[in-house]
Symmetry: C2
Subunit: 112 residues, 2 copies
DNA sequence: TTGACTTACCTAAGTTTCTTATGTATCATT
DNA sequence: AATGATACATAAGAAACTTAGGTAAGTCAA
């Protein structure tokens, strides 16, 4: 597990990325998918995810569809048109940021 | 400029990395160095940096040395022994995290 | 010489975003 | 029948910033 500060700020982008590859997903599925894909190194808590999903919906980036599975309810999220475009922006911003950070971290000692 | 959420959580590691390459630096110098190295894409504000430097000092990772430049005072920070070891840990954790994030962001659509 | 900008330190209130804790309920397995 | 997984949700508190402000010295052009 990474220390939690690192993950801060990347959650919404991760969600948007997953939804841009999967058409529709429900909350719990997202937590499991991220856990699987990262071999448990990134674990999204429900306390962080659900409020974040609601915020993305309020911003008009996600739409929801409720499905009944037996007697339980599942809430599927998918990207709106606006969500698709914002997703691409956020993904390239984060990719760019990762490259910048990698550059910083790879610096060699300066001559002094 | 990257949206500020992204930078959250990476500040201390950036500081530790710069100090592990430069022996000693003062606060303002750190802000300028990061700005230069990232072509202005990452700009550390003083409101974020100074409290962070104080925290690192309180944790025993940094030591300070005050220098008089004319009538002004400059506060140089350098890594303690503990700071050097923590710096290496934080740097490799962040590098690892970047690789994991890159993997997530590079995922192709799953077959459905 | 004064006004604007840069250098250089600092703190504090407010915001955002998460963690931690809790609640509810269904379903599967032992 | 109990445990663990599935699946949703909220709310109080913590952490790490942003924004805004304060102080003061040095530099440079008009």
């Amino acid at each position: 597990m990474y220390s939690s500060e690192l993950i801060k700020g990347t959650l919404k982008t991760i969600v948007l990325k997953l939804l841009s590859e999967n058409q529709e997903m429900y909350g719990y599925e997202i937590t499991q998918k991220v856990k699987d894909l990262t071999a448990g190194k990134i674990q999204i808590t429900e306390g962080a995810l659900y409020p974040s999903l609601h915020a993305l919906e309020n911003e008009g980036l996600l739409s929801t569809q409720t499905m009944n599975i037996g007697k339980r309810v599942r809430k599927y999220y998918s990207l709106t048109k606006k969500g698709k475009s914002v997703a691409q922006e956020k993904i390239s911003e984060l990719t760019d940021f990762m490259n910048t950070m990698r550059f910083l971290l790879d610096l060699k000692p300066s001559a002094q």
